[in-house]
Symmetry: C2
Subunit: 313 residues, 2 copies
């Protein structure tokens, strides 16, 4: 039995690799960078290499990161990889499982890739889940790592670039929706006319954030977003305050899609999102009873379960 | 009396100048380009010239365009200029009139600028209108040019980069809201993850556009927009079809902000928007009785009225 795995989360714009002790699901060491799947895909296209070399191309990059963690101790340790790696722009496109999907490692779609000279590590590539109009790649692994803990009968919210609202019944992922909240924030704050009205900062302006949540929940997003501009033109908010106002508008608008009879909410995210979404859920009148799980820990637990199911037979 | 004027609409990203016969409000000739206020402002910032030279800097550019229309005949003809020229990034920032504003040339704010060596034409700079949370620069002139014709008691919709929904009671502009519909379309189709799922084209796909309108009207925009991506991933629509689907989603979402007891709608726009918004208003169940005025003609009429009031005394 492998008592250690390499847990890799390769998203559109970020790469994160963790060396894990499976028995305790604890992190021995990790490396991360912003060399996401999107930029690797662009480099791959430029390389002009044949399609049958694509998997190796991505795994060479993966191996270069593995070597950053440590050297000899890594030998023979398998890599569990989820996220955008299995997408059309990833190492190997895999079909998605369709909902409903039991949150059990046996019910996700996992592709085994043998070690070779590109990457001398056994690789388990985890594919995503799709519903009629939506798709997730990565979140299914966090949900797997959270199942039986707190997901049952919950509306699970996974905030991010493309936030997910997932309904779990029994132990099955039955439906979900994607909200482009994080990407809209990025587009509006960096490249729209609003970019002149906001300034990135990490201060706390909870009163302004909460006003944004109310305005975004009660109004039309195409209109509410413009008020970030007039808040600057009419000197209501500074550009730094407006940054939090825009964040509130978008999160409030996302949460306005939740119906009044929603089940209890479970948040799976980092601590920064936890604070924002918890406040926004309360302000929006949805619920002030929010369970929380750390997204990184959930991901690692999911990878450990996949490792146990697919390797330790 | 001046029987001719130069009618100039200088927006954020476009410049349009028309030589007008005032008695008939007809266009003798025109020039247009994409040298909008935003790019002129950036050049102005780079020039390092003193603030008291700003008006002249913009008017020199204006004069270079006037010379493209014709030569000698232009002498002494006044220019009426509306749009972003009076904004913080324009030739001279002017305060806005606050609602309610009577749609009468006497009630807009117009700044007179005398001819000089930068531009040997008398200039009337028209300022915008603001409400509690919204601002318009340019649309007030189109409304002025439409007043008494069809605006009274109407919800006036002026589609565009920043669409306006304006309520006119009696002969007064009493309230309005801005919707960033056109800018969201531009951001999403060109720079978001959806850019890989759409392809610009001018074909007609009314069934797909109308599905977009329904989806954008009934759903949350942050979620509905993501369905443009899955429509491509799941091979529901081609990228060319998706372009119209996204357009429909955004217009449908904009129109979903209109309440059920809305007054009759007047559209002021070009013919392309007329078709899209007329269909979307019907599909959304708001109204199928839409009055229409051509935006360019409304603008010219507004400029003619301002000329008569401010020059022919």
């Amino acid at each position: 039995m492998n008592t250690q795995i390499l847990s890799c989360d390769w998203g559109t714009s970020n790469f994160r690799l963790r060396w894990i002790d499976v028995s305790t699901a604890s992190v021995i060491s990790e490396v991360s960078d912003s060399i996401g799947i999107a930029s690797v895909y662009n480099e791959w296209l430029k390389s002009g290499l044949p399609e049958n070399g694509r998997s190796g191309y991505y795994r060479k990059i993966l191996f270069s990161r593995i070597k950053q963690l440590a050297n000899d101790p890594m030998k023979g340790i398998p890599v569990i990889l989820s996220g955008m790696s299995s997408s059309s722009i990833g190492a190997m496109e895999l079909p998605c499982k369709k909902v409903p999907v039991a949150l059990d490692s046996a019910h996700l779609y996992v592709q085994h890739i043998a070690p070779d000279e590109c990457c001398p590590h056994e690789l388990l590539l985890v594919s995503g889940v799709q519903s009629g109009n939506d798709i997730m790649r990565g979140e299914e692994t966090m949900l797997l790592g959270s199942a039986n803990a707190a997901t049952t009968g919950r509306l699970v919210i996974l905030p991010g670039t493309h936030s997910k609202h997932v309904t779990v019944n029994g132990n099955s992922l039955v439906s979900f929706k994607t909200y482009m909240t994080g990407e809209f924030f990025d587009l509006l704050s960096r490249t729209s006319i609003l970019s002149r009205s906001v300034a990135a900062n990490s201060k706390e302006h909870w009163d302004i954030f909460e006003k944004g949540v109310r305005d975004g929940a009660s109004g039309n997003l195409l209109n509410a977003a413009f008020h970030v501009r007039t808040a600057q033109l009419f000197a209501k908010f500074t550009n730094e305050e407006n940054y939090h106002y825009l964040s509130g508008i978008l999160i409030g608008n996302e949460l306005s899609a939740i119906s009044a009879d929603t089940p209890p909410v479970l948040l799976i995210c980092n601590s920064a999102f936890r604070e924002k979404y918890s406040r926004a859920l309360t302000i929006s009148g949805i619920t002030d009873e929010v369970e929380y799980l750390d997204a990184a820990a959930a991901l690692v637990r999911g990878h450990c379960q996949i490792a146990k199911h697919y390797i330790d037979r």
